[in-house]
């Protein structure tokens, strides 16, 4: 199965056009069907909840907290690498944000500093991985502890209220509600998705991301800079983590030093459930986007249909295991 998502319409003149289209988008069609099936299940289980817009407003307000990271993280996984440090980078970015905010009372400046901190932390990951050739899985376990440690040492474990930002223009741009219900963070997640899609599918950089993950030897022989590509995907993911941390904290008007804890597995499951290959070289923005909402909806949905919250993890487990097995089998069949 090719990962080169969505490149123009298939050629309808040819008889095999439809089959070819089905093959090319099999994983995307699959994840859409899974999302649809889950939605039907919820609608049948609790029609009054799932026919009102409140539940969707809730999904759209919380899913971006990890979805915004899952999208660029997809690129990291496509290059064949892994990043486990983004939850700590979310918190580290916010540490910088709150420090600058309290020093200058300027949230815009704080935001710039926050994004720069995330970018730098991500860049460091990429640099360590490409310079010393240590597996990213291992390095980012280390930096994950390191940045969390930095935050704990500098905050003594105490949070900071961000009430001063509430209902400001800044607040409304990032976590306000359009027409009183549509969360702005959803707009930001869509923007991040569009940007990621454009870069992955329409820019030379994205082409190199796929090539590096697919066959880094051939990419290198053809003059693609493997190191630069990897450093960039880690840096972008770090910056996205800082943005997601900022949005999550603004929504609560509070910065907890533990920010990001609990997002690790949600985010990774979104990437893998979305059809991105752990071996690299394949993955789509669309898949991760839809999968984020599947992951984001299950918790609330389960409670809404009348099961206890204890079912959440069991159902996560089933959906992830079954979907990933089906994806693998389908991918093999297609080739």
């Amino acid at each position: 199965m090719t990962a080169n998502a969505t490149l123009g319409a298939p050629n309808q003149k040819q008889a095999s056009g439809a089959t070819r289209w089905l093959r090319r988008y099999a994983l995307q069609i699959g994840i859409t069907l899974v999302a649809f099936a889950i939605w039907i299940f919820f609608v049948i289980g609790s029609p009054q909840t799932f026919f009102s817009r409140n539940i969707y407003a809730a999904f759209m307000s919380t899913t971006p907290f990890f979805g915004i990271v899952a999208l660029p993280l997809t690129m990291v996984v496509i290059t064949g690498e892994m990043d486990l440090s983004f939850p700590s980078i979310m918190s580290f970015g916010m540490l910088v944000f709150s420090t600058v905010l309290f020093a200058t009372a300027n949230p815009w400046l704080a935001m710039v500093a926050c994004l720069a901190a995330g970018l730098a932390a991500g860049f460091l990951n990429g640099w360590l991985i490409t310079k010393f050739l240590v597996p990213s899985l291992v390095i980012t376990i280390g930096t994950q502890f390191f940045w969390r440690g930095v935050v704990q040492v500098l905050t003594n474990g105490t949070g900071k209220s961000l009430l001063m930002t509430r209902d400001t223009l800044f607040y409304n741009i990032f976590v306000g509600r359009i027409n009183g219900w549509f969360p702005m963070q959803m707009i930001w997640m869509i923007l991040v998705a569009l940007l990621t899609w454009v870069f992955l599918n329409r820019h030379r950089f994205g082409a190199h991301v796929y090539l590096v993950g697919d066959n880094k030897e051939s990419a290198r022989l053809m003059g693609v800079s493997v190191s630069r590509t990897k450093i960039m995907v880690f840096a972008i993911t770090g910056m996205a983590a800082a943005l997601a941390g900022m949005i999550a904290s603004l929504e609560l008007s509070y910065y907890w030093p533990t920010l990001g804890e609990g997002y690790l597995l949600n985010t990774l499951s979104s990437v893998f459930l979305g059809g991105t290959s752990v071996f690299g070289g394949a993955g789509t923005v669309y898949g991760t986007f839809v999968a984020s909402f599947i992951i984001g909806a299950i918790n609330a949905g389960i409670v809404a249909v009348g099961l206890s919250g204890f079912w959440t993890q069991l159902i996560y487990g089933l959906i992830i295991v079954i979907s990933v097995i089906v994806q693998t089998v389908v991918s093999k069949k297609i080739s």
Partner: protein
Amino acid sequence: MTTPALELVNVSKSFGEVKSLHNINFKVEPGEVVGLLGDNGAGKSTLVKVITGYHAPDPGGEIYFGGQKVDHLSMQKARDLGVECVYQEKALADLQSLWRNIFMGRELTTSMGFMDVKKMQAETERLMQEHMGFTSKAVSAETPVKTMSGGERQGIAITRALYFQANIIILDEPTMALSLTETKKVLDFIGGIAKAGKSAIFIDHNIFHVYPVVDRIVVLDRGMIAGEFMKNEVTLEELIERLYTVARTGTYDKSDGAVLKNLEVPA
């Protein structure tokens, strides 16, 4: 007398105590396909790595491209000079589409690095019909290359090299592990290189694959050129006979026709 596309003069390469190449004098004329034969460890890959700028030769060795001496050859410089390698395992990114493989690392862009996808797809479709012999409607520029046969994959890599105006295409065991019909396809592609007026170095240890498509055969043994034969001066049977001699003795017995070099056995 034409200027050789590539010429190595007195090139040696040592790794610490081990001397992998001894005073190699080697050239490739424009439009010539040279077969480089030799056993494992004969120095074929070291020689290729010198030509592609991966290894620097020992001091004293000289490398000329189109008659111009090139010092400090780097991989980038070699690429810029039109040297392109086709490795069986390293040539293509399997999961990616045909057009992404053709334009790998050399994507056509409009501005600010954004790709001209339509143009790359159209060029790929054209190359597929004109050079790669893909006529099936089931294959398009979007088809991932892992669905293609070994011969077709080599063809893609060779077509890619020609499309980007490579002057010297190095084929490292391009027929390894291929079936007879697939090997035939690859050999046809190699024939196409000479037709396009470009040079090729065809590395293999299978004389039966090399012989039909090359103009000249260079035999490498233990880091030295043990023999050099113009194809029209030697039959396949004679060549095989001589290769046996080389394998046994490290030199080739001084009878007729062939050019002899470096007869001393390394210590």
